[in-house]
C-alpha cells in the first residue's frame, strides 16, 4: 500500500468530533473490549491509525465503522483519552458527506459555519411557497378549529387535488425524491466499495425478493429489537431513548401514510376526510403517542449526551447535536402546532405550523448527509454483513 496521508482529512476529523484521534498510541485496549473486533480486524484500533494517517479511502469502505453503534466501551476504557467511539462518529459523519449527493449540499449540511444557510434554505423555500400560494392569511379561531391547517396554503375548488396538498407535495416530494436518490446513489457506491475492500464477489446474485427477505428484513428486525444496543455496558441507557425514538418514527410513518391515503386518495371520493382528526380517532391517538414518544426519546438521548459531555469535560460535535436539535424541533413544533390549534390561537398556531414544515423539510432534505443517514447506511451495513456471510458469497 502506497500511502500519502491527507492532512485536510485529519483536520476535518478533528473538527467533526474526532479531535482526540491523535491521542491513540495503538495499545488495542479498545479492540479487547469491542465485541465487533476480530483477530484479523482489530476494530477500532486499526481505524484509529487509519484516521491518524488520514487514510480516508480505507475508512469510507469500512463496514465495521457502520456496524459500530457507539456503545462507548472503547472510549471508557481508552487509557489515553483517544475516545475511539467519538472518532468513529466523526468517520461516519465524513462517510455521509463523502457518499452524499449533491456534494455541495452535503458539505453545507456538515459544516457548522454554514448553519444559517442550512436552516435558511428550507425556511425560505416554505416561506416563498406560502407567498406564491397566495394563502397568506390568518384564519379565524372558528375556521382553525374546523379546517385545522388544511388551508395553510389557501384553497381552490378543484376537487381532485386540494391546494394545500398540492403545495405540500410540491415542497416535500422533490425533497424526499432528492434524498431518496442521494441515499440510493450513496448506498450503491458504498456497497461497491465494501465489496471491493472486503474482497466480496458473488458468483450469482440474489433476486430482489431474496435480497429483501433474506438480508434487509432480518437486519431491520435486529435493529428494531436493539439487540446490539443492549450489548453495551457503558452507554446502555441509550436504549431507553433510542428505542422509543425508533418506534415513534415508525408510528409517525404509519400515521403519515394513513393520512396521505385517507386525504389524498379516499378524500377524493368521500367528503369530510380533510381537516383535523378527532382526538379519539385511533390513528390520532397513535400520532399523539408517537409524538410524545419522539420528544421523550430524543429528550433522553439529549440528556444522556449532555451528561456524558459534562462528565468528560468535552464539547459535543455539531454532527451529533444537529440531529438531536432537529428531531426535537420536529417533535416540539408539531405538538405545539396541535396544541395551539386546539387552544384556538391562529397566529401562534400558523407560526408553529410554519416551523414544523421547515423542520420536516430539513429532516427529509438533509437525511442523507446528517447523522439521520445512519438510518439507511447502518441498515445497509447490517445487510452487507449478512450478505457477505451468506452462501451467495461463500
Amino acid at each position: 500500500m502506497r500511502v500519502n496521508p491527507d492532512l485536510d482529512f485529519i483536520k476535518y476529523m478533528k473538527g467533526a468530533g474526532g479531535d482526540t484521534l491523535k491521542n491513540c498510541y495503538q495499545c488495542a485496549t479498545c479492540s479487547v473490549v469491542c465485541p465487533l473486533s476480530t483477530d484479523e480486524k482489530p476494530f477500532p484500533r486499526k481505524e484509529m491509525i487509519w484516521a491518524q494517517w488520514g487514510l480516508k479511502d480505507k475508512l469510507v469502505s469500512d463496514v465495521d465503522v457502520l456496524l459500530c453503534h457507539q456503545c462507548g466501551d472503547c472510549t471508557a476504557y481508552c487509557p489515553r483519552g483517544a475516545k475511539p467511539g467519538d472518532v468513529l462518529g466523526a468517520i461516519r459523519a465524513y462517510m455521509y458527506t463523502h457518499y452524499g449527493f449533491p456534494s455541495g449540499l452535503a458539505k453545507m449540511v456538515s459544516n457548522p459555519k454554514m448553519l444559517p444557510m442550512t436552516i435558511g434554505l428550507p425556511a425560505v423555500i416554505v416561506l416563498v411557497m406560502w407567498f406564491i400560494s397566495g394563502g397568506m392569511h390568518l384564519p379565524s379561531s372558528e375556521d382553525l378549529a374546523v379546517q385545522g391547517y388544511s388551508q395553510f396554503f389557501g384553497h381552490w375548488d378543484w376537487h381532485w387535488l386540494t391546494k394545500n396538498v398540492a403545495f405540500i407535495d410540491a415542497i416535500m416530494l422533490p425533497a424526499v425524491g432528492l434524498a431518496l436518490y442521494s441515499v440510493f446513489r450513496g448506498v450503491t457506491t458504498m456497497w461497491k466499495d465494501l465489496e471491493k475492500e472486503n474482497d466480496v464477489s458473488a458468483k450469482f446474485r440474489p433476486s430482489v425478493k431474496q435480497f429483501v427477505v433474506d438480508f434487509i428484513v432480518p437486519s431491520v428486525k435486529e435493529i428494531i429489537d436493539h439487540k446490539r444496543f443492549r450489548e453495551c455496558t457503558v452507554n446502555a441507557d441509550r436504549v431507553r431513548g433510542h428505542k422509543p425514538l425508533v418506534l415513534a418514527f415508525i408510528g409517525l410513518l404509519i400515521v403519515t401514510i394513513y393520512s396521505a391515503i385517507s386525504q389524498d386518495v379516499v378524500g377524493l371520493f368521500v367528503e369530510g376526510m380533510h381537516g383535523p382528526m378527532s382526538l379519539l380517532n385511533p390513528v390520532k391517538i397513535l400520532a399523539n403517542v408517537s409524538a410524545i414518544a419522539l420528544i421523550v426519546g430524543i429528550g433522553i438521548l439529549w440528556g444522556n449526551r449532555a451528561a456524558t459531555e459534562e462528565q468528560n469535560g468535552v464539547k459535543g460535535s455539531y454532527y451529533d447535536w444537529f440531529l438531536i436539535y432537529e428531531i426535537m424541533a420536529v417533535g416540539v413544533t408539531g405538538l405545539a402546532a396541535e396544541l395551539c390549534r386546539l387552544m384556538g390561537i391562529p397566529s401562534l398556531a400558523y407560526f408553529m405550523y410554519y416551523l414544523h414544515l421547515v423542520s420536516i423539510l430539513m429532516l427529509f432534505l438533509y437525511m442523507p448527509y446528517t447523522k439521520f443517514a445512519h438510518l439507511v447506511y447502518r441498515t445497509m451495513a447490517y445487510t452487507f454483513e449478512r450478505y457477505r456471510q451468506s452462501s451467495f458469497v461463500k
Binding site: 500511502v3 496521508p5 491523535k22 491521542n23 498510541y25 491509525i49 487509519w50 491518524q52 494517517w53
Partner: protein, 749 residues
C-alpha cells in the same frame, strides 16, 4: 595494646530455651575466657553490664548474641575498643531444626548447643587475634578533581564539584568545551507540560563554568597517562592527538614479557616510559571523572537501508546538523527509521535506547516547524519515552503531520521506504524526500582506553566487553563505580542518556569523586566496604614474586617493581582480600582479618571423634550476600542444618586455600564456599572474587585427591541475597553428600 577480654553471652530472643547456657559458658572458658550471661544484652541493663566492665578496663569485648549484622550501634563501645560478635541467635538457635521422629527435642537441643558453643569458641578465637586498625595515610593528599571531557557531563561534574569547594581541571580534546550539545538545534522539554522543544542551554552552562574561579579549562589537550592512586594521581597531559613518551603503556603480562625477551613478540611499549616511571612535571589530582562521552554509530553496514550509498539517507546526527545549520528547506516528507532489523528481528539500532526515540520525536517536530505542510513518519519497533517524557511523546503525537507506526523496514530504495508488519494492517510504501536512521550512541570506551592509566593491569577498564564497551561497572545497585578506585564515569560513556539524565549522572559522579578523596584522607575504604579502616599489609621479606596478587586484584591496586615484588597502593584498594586469598606464602593480611585469625577460628571448632552423626562441615560465607541470606533464613525460622559451622568472609576471593587444608586436617568433614553468582552476569561485590574462588577450589580438589581425600568434600555454591528460601536446601544437599562420604579419615590425627 594489651588485651583485657570481656565475654558476654545473651540468653534472650529464645537462646536460653534452645541451648544449654552452661555449655556455652564452659566453651568460652575452654579458650581461657570467662563469660558472663544476661537475659537481654542489647537492653539498657545488658549494655550497662558491658559498659561497666569497659569502664573497668576491658578493651576487647566479645558479644555472643545476635548476628553481627544487627544491633551494631548497641554494641559499639568506641573506636578504641575491639568488639567481636559471636552469632548464636541466627547462627544456631533461630535456624535450628524442629524436633521430629528422627531427632527428638533433647537431641535437637544437644546439636544446637554444640553449634552455638562452637560459635562462641570461634568468636573468642577471633577476638584474641584481632588488632585495632590503623588507617593508612598518604604522605600528601591532593584535593583537586580531574574531569576528562568538556561536554554536558564534564561541565556539570566540574560545576558541581567546584560549587562544593573543590578545584577542578577540565581536559577537552576539541578547541572549545560544550561537546555534542553545541550541535543541538533544540532540546527536549524539561518542564511542564513537556510539549514544546526548548532552546539549547549549553551556552549558559559554558558561561557558568568559565566564570568559576575554581575551574581550569584546558582545551585541545588530552591525558597521556594517569599514574598514582586516589588522593595522589599523577596526570601527564599532552596536546590532543600527539604522541608522547608518557603515553599509557599497554599491558605486558608475564607471558608477553617472556615472548618479548625471546624475540617472538614486538614490545608494544617501545619509546614509552615504563608504567611505574614518575613524571616530575605531572599534575596532581585526588580523583578523576571520566566524561568522554559518545560517538555516533556507523550504520552503513545495513545495506538494505542504504546509508552511505543512497544520498537520501542520513543518520539522526547528520539530520541534527542539517537542522542546526538551517538546511531543512524543501523537505516535504521525512521518514525516521528506528529499527534496522527488517524481518529478522525487532531490535533497535545498536547503542540506541530511549534517547534515540526522543530524538526521532524531536526531529519530526523540526520537519513540521520548518514547513507546515510537511509530513514526518516515524517507523518504530519500540517507542521509549520514560518518565515525564511520555508527555512529550503525547504532545508530538498531536501534530497532524506526524505519523507513527510500528513497522519492520525491509528496504529503502531511492526515496521509497518499504515496511512490513505495520499497525496499519498492510505493508507500507512511503515516498519521502529524506530518510533518517536512528543511529545509536557508542561510548568512547568502546574504541579506546580513554582513561589511559599507567597501571600494571593495563591502561583501560577491564572486561568492558561484558557491557558492550560502556564504562559501566554494573556493580549491582552502584552506578558511577568503575574497577579503578577514584575514577568515576558519567554521561554517554556510561549509558546513552539525554541531557537531564546526564546532568543528574554528572552530579552524582562529582559527589563520588569528592567522597573518594575524603575517604583517602581519612584512610578508609570506599564502596562497597565504605569506612573500613583496615588495609592489606604485606610481609615482603617472604614474598616469592609469584605475582598472583598483582594479577588477581580486581581493582588493579597492586603495581610491581622490576623483580615482580608487589607495590601496594592502599588508596586504590577496596579491601576485598582477594590478594590475601591468592597468596601462597600467606604473607598478606588485615588487622582484623588474616590467615592466622581465621585459622585460629577453625582450630577453635570442637570436632567430636568417632561419632558418625556429628560430622562438622565448615562454611565460608560471603558477607555481602551469602551471610545475610543465612541470617534471613534463620529469621524466618527455616531449619538450616546444624552440622555446619559458618565463618563470614569479606569475599570468597579472600578465602585462602590454606584454610580449607587446615579445616580438613583438623578433622572437619567438609568445606563449603557460599558466595555470589559469578560469570558474565556476576553479582560479586568485588567483581571477580567468587569466580577466582571457584577456580582455586578446582585446583584444591586435585590436591585433596593426592592425599586420598574425596574432592567432593569441598564445594562452591552460589546464592543471591534473595535466596533465603533456597539456602537451607543448598546446605542440606551438601551436608547429605558429606554424610554419604562418611567421616573425614584424618579425624583424630
Amino acid at each position: 595494646m594489651s588485651k583485657v577480654f570481656g565475654t558476654y553471652i545473651c540468653s534472650g530472643c529464645g537462646i536460653g530455651d534452645a541451648v544449654d547456657m552452661e555449655e556455652l559458658v564452659s566453651a568460652a572458658s575452654g579458650l581461657g575466657v570467662v563469660a558472663k550471661t544476661h537475659e537481654a544484652l542489647c537492653s539498657a541493663a545488658g549494655r550497662g553490664l558491658i559498659q561497666a566492665d569497659v569502664d573497668g578496663g576491658v578493651n576487647t569485648v566479645v558479644v555472643c548474641a545476635c548476628s553481627p549484622r544487627v544491633m551494631q550501634q548497641e554494641f559499639n563501645f568506641g573506636e578504641d575498643k575491639i568488639t567481636v560478635r559471636g552469632n548464636i541467635r541466627e547462627g544456631a538457635v533461630w535456624g535450628a531444626e524442629q524436633p521430629s521422629e528422627a531427632r527428638d527435642a533433647a537431641t535437637v537441643k544437644e546439636f544446637t548447643t554444640e553449634q552455638a558453643a562452637d560459635n562462641v569458641r570461634m568468636a573468642c578465637a577471633e577476638a584474641k587475634k584481632t588488632e585495632l586498625p590503623v588507617p593508612f595515610q598518604l604522605e600528601t593528599l591532593n584535593e583537586a578533581i580531574l574531569v576528562m571531557g568538556g561536554g554536558i557531563a564534564g561541565l556539570t561534574a566540574a560545576n558541581e564539584a567546584a560549587k562544593a569547594g573543590y578545584k577542578v581541571t577540565i581536559i577537552e580534546k576539541a578547541d572549545q568545551v560544550g561537546g555534542k550539545a553545541l550541535g543541538w538545534a533544540k532540546q527536549f522539554p524539561t518542564k511542564a507540560p513537556y510539549a514544546e522543544l526548548e532552546e539549547p542551554t549549553i551556552g549558559a552552562l559554558i558561561a557558568e563554568v568559565e566564570g568559576n574561579a575554581n575551574i581550569t579549562i584546558k582545551t585541545g589537550a588530552e591525558v597521556a597517562r594517569i599514574g598514582g592512586s586516589p588522593g595522589d594521581f599523577s596526570v601527564t597531559l599532552k596536546p590532543a592527538g600527539a604522541k608522547s613518551e608518557w603515553d599509557a603503556p599497554a599491558k605486558v603480562g608475564v607471558d608477553e614479557q617472556d615472548r618479548i625477551e625471546k624475540g617472538t613478540m614486538e614490545d608494544p611499549n617501545v619509546g614509552i616510559k615504563k608504567y611505574t616511571a614518575q613524571n616530575p612535571d605531572a599534575e596532581k589530582f585526588g580523583s578523576v571523572i571520566l566524561a568522554t562521552g559518545w560517538v555516533p554509530a556507523d550504520v552503513s553496514g545495513y545495506e538494505h537501508l542504504g546509508h552511505g550509498t543512497n544520498d537520501k539517507v542520513v543518520t539522526n546526527a547528520q539530520f541534527e546538523k542539517m537542522a542546526k545549520e538551517g538546511k531543512l528547506a524543501g523537505l516535504n516528507s521525512v521518514a525516521f527509521i528506528m529499527s534496522p532489523g527488517g524481518e529478522e528481528h525487532d531490535m533497535d539500532f545498536p547503542y540506541a535506547n530511549s534517547v534515540t526515540s526522543m530524538v526521532a520525536l524531536k526531529q519530526a517536530k523540526y520537519v513540521r516547524e520548518n514547513n507546515a505542510n510537511a509530513k514526518a513518519y516515524i517507523l518504530y519497533q519500540h517507542m521509549r519515552t520514560p518518565g515525564h517524557l511520555e508527555l512529550f511523546y503525547k504532545g508530538v503525537q498531536q501534530d497532524d503531520g506526524i505519523f507513527l507506526t510500528k513497522a519492520s523496514v525491509t528496504a529503502v530504495e531511492g526515496g521509497t521506504v518499504k515496511a512490513k508488519d505495520t499497525l496499519l494492517g498492510e505493508d507500507l510504501e512511503l515516498d519521502v524526500d529524506l530518510v533518517v536512521l536512528a543511529a545509536g550512541m557508542e561510548p568512547t570506551t568502546k574504541y579506546e582506553n580513554s582513561i589511559n592509566l599507567a597501571y600494571r593491569q593495563g591502561p583501560g577498564f577491564l572486561d568492558l566487553g561484558l557491557f558492550d564497551g560502556y564504562a559501566d561497572s554494573h556493580f549491582i545497585c552502584f552506578p558511577y563505580e568503575t574497577r579503578r578506585t577514584g575514577v568515576y564515569t558519567c554521561g554517554g560513556v556510561r549509558k546513552a542518556m539525554n541531557m537531564e539524565e546526564t546532568i543528574d549522572d554528572a552530579t552524582g559522579a562529582a559527589l563520588k569523586a569528592i567522597q573518594a578523596m575524603v575517604s583517602a584522607d581519612r584512610g578508609v575504604a570506599v564502596h562497597p566496604r565504605s569506612g573500613d579502616a583496615t588495609y592489606p599489609e604485606f610481609f615482603m621479606q617472604r614474598c616469592t614474586q609469584c605475582k598472583r596478587c598483582t594479577e588477581e586484584c580486581p581493582f588493579g591496586a597492586l603495581d610491581d617493581d622490576a623483580k615482580g615484588t608487589p607495590l601496594p597502593n592502599p588508596t586504590r584498594c577496596r579491601r576485598c582480600g582477594t590478594c590475601m586469598g591468592a597468596c601462597p606464602e600467606r604473607i598478606i593480611g588485615f588487622k582484623n582479618y588474616n590467615i592466622d585469625l581465621v585459622a585460629s577460628m577453625i582450630k577453635a571448632i570442637d570436632v567430636p571423634e568417632e561419632d558418625d552423626d556429628k560430622l562438622r562441615i565448615l562454611v565460608f560465607a560471603c558477607e555481602n550476600d551469602a551471610y545475610p541470606t543465612l541470617d534471613m533464613a534463620a529469621m524466618r525460622k527455616l531449619s538450616v542444618n546444624n552440622l555446619i559451622r559458618v565463618i563470614p568472609v569479606r569475599c570468597l576471593g579472600s578465602v585462602n586455600m590454606a584454610w580449607v587444608r587446615d579445616a580438613l586436617s583438623a578433622g572437619l568433614d567438609g568445606a563449603l564456599l557460599l558466595g555470589c553468582k559469578y560469570g558474565d552476569d556476576y553479582q560479586c561485590h568485588f567483581v571477580k572474587g567468587s569466580e577466582i574462588a571457584d577456580k582455586r577450589m578446582e585446583n584444591i580438589g586435585d590436591t585433596l585427591s593426592s592425599l586420598g581425600l574425596e574432592p567432593e568434600r569441598c564445594g562452591v555454591r552460589q546464592v543471591a541475597i534473595s535466596d533465603y528460601n533456597k539456602v537451607p536446601e543448598i546446605i542440606e544437599e551438601f551436608v547429605a553428600e558429606i554424610l554419604e562420604l562418611g567421616p573425614n579419615p584424618f579425624k583424630g590425627f
